[in-house]
Amino acid sequence: MSDMLNSALPGAGFAGFVTVNEAGLRGMITLRGDLSSPVLAGVLKDAMGLDMPAQRRVTQAGTAFAAWMSPDELLLMLPYDQAGAMAQKLAGALAGEFATVANVSDARAVFTLQGAAVFDALAKICPVDFSDFAEGDIRRTRAAQVAAALWVSGADQVTLVCFRSVAQYMFDLLCAAAAPGSEPALYA
């Protein structure tokens, strides 16, 4: 049987010149609609306490986060066991609005990268200039051959979100990028 109630690679970790850890199950809701709509912003605030994020930014309220993914898309992150009920609550509150809500928690894998040279590891696999990448920023790009979202979630910390189906590829890729002795020393 498939292991549906586990994350993609439970407990997977690697200590290189940055550490790579699979972050476990995370609740994720895709909210699409007109991000400039006061109704949408009001529902986000009422249901989750979250402010509407600015372009390519992430806002936080307790254990919940709202990430700007495109001009008409937010990624809402919250504890895994709350995602189903929250998605229903949002869909109800947005009934009649030009908006869609989907619980995508099980479609994703999440990795946490920690270390002063975290951008050096990512620079090897992402076509991104990290020099102006600040805490609270989020950026969608590719990591080698697969799509990824990179969020500077703390000091020297990046949270990477990808599709669950490519979790093993991503983990292997991140481990290779963080291999001890292979620091490109671009940013740190």
Partner: protein
């Protein structure tokens, strides 16, 4: 290396983060058009050596389509603009004319 700035999300990245979508500003000829018009719409492309207008999609980023004006010789990008634009914007045309005084203009 071709570097584009997506007007939809503001990200500047090199071309592997984007997907090319061919020539921009094509006028569609569908049912009721002549065979010649339909053939031209389907197959005839400018393919210039120099100033060109193209469709691009920010495939690994925000996912949105946009248009770009660039030089196919030098990869210089004159500007990117919304996909919902029917012809090259005046400020981009002015920039191209500044860089390429001999350019025959968009037609």
């Amino acid at each position: 290396m071709l570097t584009l700035t997506c007007p939809c999300c503001g990200v500047t990245a090199e071309e592997t983060e984007f997907s090319p979508g061919g020539e921009a500003h094509l006028k569609r000829f569908g049912p009721g058009s002549s065979d010649q018009e339909y053939e031209a719409y389907m197959f005839n492309r400018k393919n210039p050596r120099g100033v060109h207008f193209e469709r691009w999609r920010h495939a690994y980023g925000c996912g949105k389509w946009f248009l770009a004006a660039r030089c196919t010789m030098t990869l210089e990008v004159f500007g990117t603009y919304a996909a919902q634009t029917l012809e090259p914007p005046a400020e981009i045309v002015a920039k191209i004319k500044d860089r390429h005084p001999g350019w025959e203009g968009y037609s």
